[in-house]
Point group: C2
Chain length 236, copies 2
DNA sequence: AAGTATAATTGTACCGGTACAATTATACAA
DNA sequence: TTGTATAATTGTACCGGTACAATTATACTT
């Protein structure tokens, strides 16, 4: 692991151990340099990561302060989207409905940047947090990039598998949000009524080299899903 | 304006002028250094901004490539949230329903980190994109930070006013998302039916010094609002 | 052609430095 | 006490450098 990532983790740990809360001040930059035995720019890089993650904010001339204190019951939108899990002590489980190799329809092919004759894995799941229905997911993986999947892998974290077993790393993703009404079959999976409200999110995940490898459509249970997003200026 | 921000803008402009598309390659780092006459780290900083913004991605050993090509009809979630407007050629207008100084209720006070005896501005608007109803907004501004507002300011961009006239800068924000059903009065403002689906977003905006200054509740028109979010690894 | 070693390209990690602007603390005056 | 200059603190911008890992191009085999 990179030094600045490692240090970012240690600082986050430090905040947790010392039980620092919203607005509390961290040691100054120079002290951190000495403490971790690295240069200023490495510390700065670590702090920048934590700032992006919403853990701290920095104020020039003043210091480094703890930012996060999220509302209980709200999940980070990205933690349910395959990224670094930030669910705290909540447990995420899945019912696997389908894992199969199919040909993509034109919409799926287009979103994945492939041809309709290329193979994809189709995965369908219902996901739960602490046993409560969270969402229904239908996702497609480019088989040329993810050559093998089975129900065991899919029941756990597909992203962990892809990253560790296949050695590919996920770079970035585009998410498209929309509110709508449930179809009959969706409602059945979620234990709701047809035409009930729902949040639909389509996501295209890309590798670090920019190639799409996963296109997924998620339909959220509207009373069991509340999300938090932490944004930073000046560019957002 | 800072050098690296300026250069980021110029590079974005360059992409636009050259009509570069998804996957197209930009000049290499060293060439940019010479072209803009700055050091490597400044270019790197500019590119990092653009990467966060979802405009480019960088691939070590290979080059810098154009990332963005968004779906038409989808707005950046942050562009309707007061940040750098990314609406393209769409026009954002407002009907101002209320601008008044009031005492906050306990929920508002808590979200703004103030006392119920402190004054706040209450602003209520209905917002439109290209004349179509987008959302209903109810927001509260800490009067100690924003001492004066009127209907003209509020009809335009409050954030522009706050930043330019008051010289305060917005640092970061926490957004809470939830799907629900419209109340009767909300439905009326949006031209929808009671119990229709809606996306509700509560946002707390903070200054760079960490103080909350705006708490807003927005209710979106579910068929007129589609959002895109661009996320970057490894920390999201 | 098709694979394989080798070299060139290219962005990133990390170092260490100077200058500076925003904040906060201090000293002093009214 | 209250305000006001002054100084100390502290993070950020920007410079310029070395080393390196991932990618891509090249030359060389088979």
């Amino acid at each position: 692991m990179l030094k600045y990532q490692q240090i970012a983790n240690e600082i986050e740990q430090y905040i947790h151990e010392q039980n620092l809360k919203q607005g509390d001040k961290l040691p100054v930059l120079e002290q951190m340099m000495n403490q971790y035995g690295v240069s200023k720019s490495t510390i700065t890089k670590a702090l920048e990561l934590l700032e992006r993650k919403g853990v701290i904010f920095q104020l020039r001339g003043s210091g480094i302060f703890v930012r996060r204190h999220n509302r209980p019951g709200y999940m980070s939108l990205f933690s349910t989207q395959g990224f670094k899990s930030n669910l705290g002590d909540r447990v995420l489980t899945s019912d696997v409905i389908d894992v199969s190799v199919v040909k993509p329809d034109s919409t799926v092919a287009e979103n994945l940047g492939i041809d309709v004759s290329d193979d994809v894995y189709r995965v369908e799941r219902v996901r739960y947090v602490d046993g409560e229905v969270l969402c229904h997911e239908e996702s497609y993986y480019v088989k040329a990039i993810v050559p093998y999947l089975n129900r065991e892998i899919v029941a756990d974290s597909i992203f962990d598998y892809v990253q560790s077993a296949l050695g590919v790393t996920i770079g970035f993703s585009d998410m498209y949000l929309q509110v709508g009404r449930l179809t009959e079959s969706e409602a059945e999976h979620l234990g709701l009524q047809e035409n009930d409200p729902t949040l639909r999110i389509e996501t295209i995940f890309h590798l670090t080299n920019g190639k799409p490898f996963d296109y997924s459509r998620i339909t959220y249970h509207y009373t069991h899903s509340q999300f938090v997003i932490q944004a930073n200026g000046p560019y957002m």
